[in-house]
Amino acid sequence: MDLFPLCNSIRISLIATAITLALGILCAYHIARLPGWIKGIMDTFLTIPMVLPPTVVGYLILVTTSPKSALGSFLKTTLSTTITMKWYAAVIAVVIVTFPLMYRTVRSAFESFDENLLHAGRTLGLSNSLIFRRILLPNCRSGILAGIVLSFARGIGEYGATSMVAGYIAGKTATVSTTVAYYWQTNQDDLAMRWVLINLSISFAVMLTVNYFDKKNTSSKRRQSDVTLL
């Protein structure tokens, strides 16, 4: 059995998660400090992909990157390549679809963070970057980890936008979800079922990880409050 779709899915989702992680933390950090109304607008704008149908996201990516578009024709003339129908087109799709998940989880972690710790850091003469790296990020670790796991899982299963921008080309752009669709459409139910099972086990493993972190987090919090009571 050719495992290319699984490897491809993992590759796409890993790269996309790394990108959303950086973007999500950056946006969450800066947008949380903006004045109220700009924050509201930015928030809405950045979380729209969460409620948009993935096909709409896919369509918008196609419109902006197809050889007919400005960006697409620029790439075609300068690098003589196209983005659409390549595996990395799926990375763009997955980044856009998973960004809101990462952004919202990280931002709520930042927002529930005790501001006094930041103030304490500043009165101690620490630089903003040091406070960010050594105080904010480590103390929001569980929220950030949750964002990573959720984004990665969503990325593995992404179908709508991916199928529009990367299609299904066996051994080139096939992912686990597009493979299931392809086998089903071509009446190869046995193979479709295998990929369904693979999908199920990935989802199972992801949820297990999420629950593990969740439990670890609450038990460490309980331990802290026990000590406070003592």
């Binding site: 710790l117 103030h119 304490a120 850091g121 500043r122 009165t123 101690l124 620490l126 050594r134 105080i135």
Partner: protein, 348 residues
């Protein structure tokens, strides 16, 4: 070393309007919760930005709204002990103290660990520490950054009574070693009295002029002064010439000089005497009374008594050994006129 701070900041309907001029001393900001004490400290530390005003520490201008100077907190060198200590939960005691190590060398950190008796706890995390250890760690961390001014925000509020006393000694020693300007925010009059040299009362955002603690505690000028220094009996009063009348007690008395702007009088619960114990040459207000309730404390009884003809009760604290005599010769109490505090509403 000195701090001059004159700032205004509006927060909705609340206006913070504070002026302080502090030398190398411990100044207490005394006030009820929500009066703007902590906000004042946060403005000095640079965590909050005042609307107008000027803050100068030694020769360094930290904030000046006219010259558009507003130094970020990290350049101000103002150390702050937060109410909940704000220790970094992800770091060990050693890391907490040495994170500002660019200013403090390793040997300084070691010295602080010894001074604050944190040896053996270097690798513990804040959640593994007791309340007292947390506070010592926070004090050490604050001093490791080499501040020019330290500010203590309700330093003992998170501790239980037994630890409070111990930590007060610790803080007193720290303040003494530090030797520069210290601001202490508190609503506890005893702490303030023991730790500071001068104090300023803050009442709904405005501070009253700084006074020595003796002056403030023994000669309060305003209603807020009297209340915050623990006076339990405060009544409305009206003055005409040298005559002052207290309608709530149905009593009048005369003062040595003419007073005009008196709106309240205060009587400390411990200064009230039974009639048979008053000295004969002292002028007193003598009142018949009924006892409404008796509360026993460790070394005294606190009586709530109703003066006959008056409309409000009086708190009267009396030593335990004198209490039986009151039971025998009950019904007249004496308030020495020289112990009555004449109070205004607020500062002009």
């Amino acid at each position: 070393m000195s701090l001059y701070c004159k700032i205004q900041k509006r927060l909705g309907r609340f206006l913070l309007d504070v002026e302080l001029d502090v030398g190398d001393e411990v100044l207490a900001l005394l006030g009820a919760s929500g009066c703007g004490k902590s906000m004042t400290l946060r403005c000095i530390a640079g965590i909050e930005k005042p609307d107008h005003g000027i803050i100068v520490l030694d020769d360094k201008t930290l904030f000046d709204s006219k010259k558009r100077i507003n130094l970020p907190p990290k350049q101000r060198k103002t150390g702050m002990l937060f109410q909940d200590y704000a220790l970094f939960p992800n770091m060990s005691v050693l890391e907490n103290i040495s994170i500002s190590a660019s200013r403090a060398s390793r040997s300084d950190v070691d010295a602080l660990i010894t001074t604050f008796r944190l040896e053996g706890l270097e690798n513990h995390h804040p959640y593994q520490l007791s309340g007292g250890q947390r506070q010592r760690c926070a004090l050490a961390r604050m001093l490791a950054s080499g501040p020019d001014l330290i500010m203590l925000d309700e330093p003992f509020s998170a501790l239980d009574t037994f630890l409070r006393w111990q930590m007060e000694q610790e803080v007193a020693a720290t303040i003494k070693r530090f030797g520069k300007t210290v601001l202490l925010v508190s609503h506890n009059r005893d702490e303030v009295y023991r730790l500071c040299s001068r104090a300023s009362v803050i009442c709904s955002g405005k501070n009253e002029p700084i006074r020595t603690k003796h002056d403030l505690f023994f000669h309060p000028h305003t209603y807020a002064d009297a209340l915050l220094t623990g006076c339990k009996n405060i009544f409305e009063a009206t003055a005409s010439g040298r005559q002052i009348s207290i309608p709530a007690l149905c009593a009048t008395f005369t003062t040595g000089t003419t007073v005009s702007d008196i709106e309240y009088i205060g009587i400390r619960a411990k200064k009230i005497l039974p009639f048979f114990m008053k000295s004969l040459d002292a002028r007193t207000i003598d009142l018949h009374y009924e006892i409404l309730s008796v509360t026993e404390s460790m070394f005294s009884y606190i009586l709530l008594v109703q003066p006959i003809g008056g409309s409000q009760p009086l708190y009267w604290e009396i030593e335990k050994e004198k209490y039986p005599e009151i039971r025998q010769h009950k019904s007249i109490l004496s308030i020495p006129v020289k112990e009555i505090m004449l109070l205004r509403e607020a500062r002009e």
